[in-house]
């Protein structure tokens, strides 16, 4: 019902557009009034004056539905002393009533023995309250529906009535629209800050348990040591000191991301050069979307590709030449990740190379440069900043990737730069620290937020660098 009334709000406010416009036009032609705005704007004016009050009230009623419900059920008429109840008692009674409401309207024959005894134990006023509760949805819905038919119509007629030739509807409409647009963008910004601060506050909680320096500079990662608890003083400080060393996670992340970039940069860049400069437009139209599909494959698919195909293959090859390769190697995860981010490099670089003006190419050809000289000496330098931007975006993607590492690399922190050994990453440890039934105020859980914050800052810096470089490149050849 509540949602049906939303439909009414939309339909009614939309239909008032025609009514408002008609009224404005009749002022113009029948009463020979000069309109201050274009006729359309009187239509918009009425629509906005109907829609926004109605939608705000609608949201209000939706959000506070449970409050209305409580007021309706726990009325002082039924429970004269309700104002004096503690919130605990209030909640208990409310629970009881909502249990009762399920059975209170059932016919005698459907009741179990338990149900009957519950009904017997309930007081008279509780039964009435339960019946009210059972009917509440219906009553609330119908009154809502009625309200949202009457309210828009009322508002619509009032707004239409207020239309006169002197009313300048255009600035009013534009002002409202500009607030709506502004508001939408502020919501996105607000959410970004919200996420950031939720990370910050939880990370601060974490650093109450673990020293800042220990976290960033210790080289051992054993979060399970955080469970060593001394009876007298809570967490064992010594164990805690050694539990969270960030360094192996950082090296693991960098190692896997480097392998990924070693795959993605050459393949992606050469692909971009081919697509932009050599491929015929037919090939390009087909090849580019196909390559972009790589970015759309779910990462979990890359994960099992890496774990089930790539890793055993690398192990076999490695052992063939006498190298000890772990079954879960950073190399396998990095390779799969590299394939995944090829399109980030190729697609963006392709766009950047394509954006280099044709006149520069012709200028170079006219001096007698070959195509490859032109690409090497004119086009790539001109597109360099944009290409670097694509690399940085690819790196942020690689650093943020989780699933492939979870499946293919390892969960064990290992301080190594050897890609044949297992390694783990920041994101993977965030996942493992949040799963399992550990209470929320344990440092093992809270470390996820410290890691998340660190990761956030790392990718933020990379993104800012990428944006700065791309901006600089825009100024270059115009």
């Amino acid at each position: 019902m509540l949602y049906l009334s939303l439909v009414f709000v939309f339909i009614l406010s939309y239909s008032f557009y025609f009514y408002g416009k008609k009224r404005a036009l009749s002022l113009k032609f029948k009463k020979n009034e000069n309109l201050s705005s274009l006729p359309d704007y009187y239509g918009y004016y009425v629509v906005l004056l109907v829609f926004f009050p109605a939608i705000i009230i609608w949201f209000f009623l939706l959000i506070f539905k449970s409050n209305f419900q409580e007021m309706f059920v726990m009325s002082p008429v039924l429970f004269p002393d309700v104002a004096t109840w503690s919130s605990g008692k209030f909640g208990l009674i409310m629970n009881k009533i909502s249990n009762l409401s399920i059975i209170v309207n059932l016919p005698e024959i459907d009741l179990t023995v338990g149900d009957k005894s519950i009904l017997k134990m309930a007081s008279e006023s509780e039964i009435i309250a339960a019946k009210n509760l059972a009917n509440f949805d219906k009553i609330y819905g119908w009154s809502n529906l009625t309200l949202f038919i009457i309210l828009p119509v009322l508002l619509g007629f009032l707004a239409t009535k207020s239309i006169s030739g002197k009313l300048n509807a255009q600035p009013i409409v534009e002002k409202i629209i500009s607030y709506v647009i502004k508001g939408s963008s502020y919501i996105a910004i607000f959410i970004t800050f919200g996420i950031f601060f939720s990370l910050v506050f939880e990370a601060i909680n974490f650093f109450r348990y673990v020293n800042f320096m220990d976290f960033f500079f210790n080289t051992a990662w054993n979060p399970n040591r955080a469970f060593v608890i001394n009876a007298s003083e809570g967490f064992d400080q010594e164990a805690l000191k050694e539990a969270f060393g960030f360094v192996p996670l950082l090296t693991g992340t960098l190692l896997i991301a480097s392998v990924a970039m070693l795959v993605a940069v050459p393949l992606g860049l050469l692909t971009a050069i081919y697509l932009a400069e050599y491929a015929s437009s037919k090939v390009r139209d087909i090849a580019k979307p196909i390559i972009e599909i790589l970015a759309g494959i779910p990462t979990v698919v890359y994960g099992f590709f890496a774990a089930l195909s790539l890793a055993p293959f690398i192990k076999d090859v490695g052992e063939g030449v006498g190298l000890p390769v772990s079954a879960e190697s950073a190399l396998a995860a990095g390779l799969a990740m590299g394939v995944m981010i090829i399109p980030f490099v190729s697609s963006l670089s392709d766009d950047v190379i394509k954006a280099v003006p044709q006149s520069l190419r012709e200028g170079s050809y006219a001096i007698g440069a070959t195509k490859s000289e032109t690409i090497k000496k004119v086009i790539l330098p001109a597109a360099l900043a944009g290409i670097m931007g694509s690399f940085l975006l690819a790196i942020s993607r690689a650093i943020g990737e989780t699933m492939i590492v979870v499946m293919a690399a390892s969960l064990r922190a290992n301080l190594t730069f050897n890609p044949l050994e297992p390694a783990t990453t920041i994101t993977t440890q965030i996942v493992t620290s949040l799963i399992g039934d550990v209470e929320f105020d344990n440092p093992k859980t809270l470390v996820a937020f410290a890691l998340g914050l660190t990761l956030f800052v790392m990718t933020l810096i990379l993104n800012i660098a990428a944006i700065t470089i791309v901006k600089k490149y825009r100024e270059k050849y115009e």
């Binding site: 015929s280 003006p357 006149s359 520069l360 190419r361 012709e362 200028g363 170079s364 050809y365 006219a366 001096i367 007698g368 440069a369 070959t370 000289e373 000496k377 004119v378 330098p381 001109a382 270059k476 050849y477 115009e478």
Partner: protein, 258 residues
């Protein structure tokens, strides 16, 4: 027919150009005397730029463009022959474009680009000398000598165009093609370029496409009038602008169409 007269830097005959099925140039024959300036004039879309771009095979870049005809450089080199490398042709036939298109590199690098590619300079000193000399000839040296390492795109439009001319002459071509080189410039910069053209014709054969008939009359000794892909009239510039043979030419230069 093309005669073997070596007084011509470039001789063309029976030139046909098609863009896909659309004809752009229809049986044009035109010879360009050495060390003279020849103007190609005509209304927009008449094929003069297309014709110009045939002369250094710039049309090769355009897939759908199909060029047929005889083009002889210095009376003996067929520039469309499969034996000719297009890069060596362009070393001899330079080009300056309508919109200045300096590379986003330093002023020095812009001019040194061609000599480096073609291996003209044997040492860094010689390269410096070539760059300096080319900028001199393009009349730009005095203005940029203190900022050779600045990015060229920071120059004014007229300076950029002169830089492009310097870039073109740095590889010592025989012929310079100019495709409306002043259309993006203000009158003062235009005057400078025109002065430059007058100086350059001592050493180079210049073929210039222009929309400005006064420019054609100022800078060129020969003028060719194109219309709808045909060469309508060719002759001494003075004659074309005073007593043209064809009525169409007369209509165009007196501003009755185009």
């Amino acid at each position: 027919m093309v005669d073997q007269n070596s007084n011509y830097a470039l001789q063309t005959s029976e030139v046909y150009v098609h863009y896909g099925k659309k004809m752009a140039i229809n049986n044009v024959a035109l010879n360009f005397p050495k060390n003279e300036v020849t103007s190609l004039i005509g209304p927009s879309g008449c094929g003069k730029s297309t014709f110009l771009r045939c002369l250094n095979r710039m049309n090769d870049v355009i897939d759908i463009c199909n060029v047929k005809g005889k083009f002889l450089l210095n009376g003996n080199v067929d520039i469309y022959s499969p034996d000719i490398q297009v890069e060596t042709l362009r070393e001899k036939v330079g080009m300056v474009f309508q919109k200045p298109n300096p590379f986003p590199k330093t002023i020095y690098e812009n001019v040194a680009y061609g000599p480096k590619i073609h291996g003209i300079a044997s040492s860094q000193n010689e390269l410096d000398e070539i760059v300096k000399d080319s900028l001199h000839r393009a009349g730009l040296y005095e203005e940029v000598k203190d900022r050779m390492d600045d990015i060229a795109t920071g120059l004014s439009g007229g300076q950029q165009q002169r830089l492009c001319i310097a870039r073109a002459i740095a590889i010592r071509p025989e012929i310079i093609l100019m495709d409306e080189p002043c259309s993006a410039l203000d009158p003062i910069a235009t005057a400078k370029i025109e002065d430059l053209i007058n100086e350059l014709k001592e050493n180079y054969t210049i073929i210039i496409v222009t929309h400005s008939m006064s420019q054609a009359s100022r800078v060129s000794s020969k003028t060719a009038f194109f219309h709808l892909g045909n060469l309508v009239e060719y002759g001494e510039t003075g004659k074309i602008f005073t007593k043209p043979d064809k009525e169409q030419t007369n209509d165009y230069i007196t501003g009755r169409f185009g």
